[in-house]
């Protein structure tokens, strides 16, 4: 069987696997909406169905061509998963969106390659550590070493003020930390902002914070970013620390991909 021709019937997509991949790479379909587990299930079902049809029995011994198909499938599905994981990072999605499909393929391959190399390097380090287990050396200072007095150059106190200002400067890009977030659910704020924007076309973020705790404020801010990522709002700020202006963005979101074949 050809993996690329694997027929899929997912909630957001119906059609062969290679079309799905093409559409994903061309950014014509949002990978976030794709159920990758569903693809795996479809593949396994198709493998089981084939082996059942061939020898009439229910066992699923894999022939050589099927093994090859499994290998190809694994490569493709792991590429999809990798891409999906990376798309959770807003800035990366934006970068990929600007690319032509060919460039997107190249970019994805490059990133996969970079990660693959680091995995190999980690494996090398692991074996190295294994070999070096019987090398013991002192970790602390020597027991009877001379006492030390390290002189320090005079410093301008202005560097302290500069350090404080730098620490008080908000970061340029905020990563969507919702992956490891253990705080009030993002959805709560997403819903709140959506209903607010259903009534008004714009609002100031600060005015909506009220007496929220700092953590809740942070989550509210993440919710804002999430809505921005989904293209539902536009966020603007006149200057650092000026009020954050949130505006409803009218955009026709493409309906979930149902009839890919007819496209």
């Amino acid at each position: 069987m050809r993996v690329s021709e694997l027929e899929l019937d997912l909630e957001a997509f119906e059609g062969p696997l290679d079309l799905l991949l093409t559409l994903v790479l061309k950014e014509e379909i949002d990978l976030v909406e794709i159920d990758v587990a569903g693809i795996v299930v479809a593949f396994i079902e198709s493998m089981l169905g084939r082996s059942g049809a061939e020898d009439g029995a229910g066992d699923c011994d894999l022939g050589e061509s099927d093994l090859e198909a499994c290998g190809e499938f694994l490569v493709l599905v792991s590429a999809l998963l990798e891409l999906k994981a990376r798309l959770l990072f807003d800035d990366e999605a934006a970068e990929l969106a600007e690319l032509e499909p060919e460039e997107a393929v190249e970019e994805l391959a490059r990133r996969l390659a970079a990660y693959r190399r680091m995995k190999e390097a980690a494996a090398w380090l692991t074996s190295r550590l294994e070999q070096e287990q019987d090398r013991f050396f002192r970790l602390g200072p020597a027991p009877l070493r001379p006492s030390i007095e390290r002189p320090i150059d005079p410093h301008d106190p202005a560097v302290l003020a500069a350090a404080m200002r730098a620490l008080a400067t908000p970061p340029k890009t905020v990563s969507l930390a919702h992956m490891s977030l253990r705080y009030p659910p993002l959805e709560q704020f997403v819903g709140r902002f959506r209903s607010l924007l259903a009534k008004r076309s714009r609002f100031d973020f600060e005015s909506e914070l009220g007496d929220l705790s700092r953590v809740e404020q942070a989550v509210a801010f993440l919710a804002l970013l999430e809505l921005g990522r989904l293209g539902e709002i536009a966020i603007s700020q006149a200057a650092p620390f000026a009020p954050i202006r949130v505006e409803r963005r009218t955009r026709e979101r493409s309906p979930a991909w149902k009839s890919a074949r007819s496209a």
Partner: protein, 201 residues
């Protein structure tokens, strides 16, 4: 020359034990007692003492740059007196006369916000502060200043007179003003925490 002949019999168990003792001593960062050595070498104290005599002969003043010393807590290796000047040069050498970015940020936090704890420094800087705090303590730029909210609380740190000298300050009141960051220290502190949380993961 007893020890010399013993050295030649490299298969001698005592010689092997002496090598094990040497190895243990070179890894230790505090003196090792006879019991420590016996437990580690899995041998009895009498034989350890014999091995220590071998080691002591080999590592003695004039014979070796490494000298075995019997101190209060047990046995340890030290540099020979002959090499004292070279060792002094090694340690006096200005390894780093300036302060790292991590040190400056930590000092700024402690100087401006007043006594604060390591967890707070960690929170504001967004990175674990153990190493930096330990380094600043060792260099005498900060010192302990009681604990947060009574017993059991985290240790608080303040800057020292040495800090004031290094930065040429008559007192902390002479620190450059930060009016642009807030009206008072509490406001600045609050703002640092907010920014730190934005910086987040």
């Amino acid at each position: 020359m007893e020890e010399r002949s013993l050295r030649l019999i490299t298969t001698s168990p005592l010689e092997a034990l002496a090598r094990t003792v040497e190895a243990l001593l070179v890894v230790a960062s505090a003196p090792l007692s006879l019991d420590d050595l016996a437990a580690a070498a899995d041998d009895d104290a009498v034989r350890i003492e014999a091995a220590l005599r071998l080691v002591g002969e080999r590592y003695s003043e004039g014979r070796s740059g490494i000298v075995l010393e019997h101190v209060a807590g047990g046995y340890a290796l030290r540099a020979s007196r002959e090499a004292a000047r070279a060792c002094a040069r090694l340690f006096e050498r200005p390894v780093q006369r300036s302060l790292s970015q991590a040190a400056l940020e930590t000092l700024a936090i402690v100087a401006y916000l007043g006594p604060c704890t390591r967890p707070e420094i960690t929170r504001i800087r967004g990175v674990a502060a153990e190493a930096t705090v330990a380094n600043l303590l060792e260099r005498g730029l900060i010192a302990e200043a009681g604990r947060d909210d009574g017993p059991g609380g985290a240790i608080r740190y303040r800057v020292t007179p040495l800090f004031e000298r290094v930065f040429g300050l008559g007192s902390l009141a002479e620190l450059p003003r930060l009016d642009d960051l807030g009206d008072d220290i509490e406001q600045i502190r609050e703002r640092l925490h907010v920014v730190a949380e934005q910086r987040g993961a």
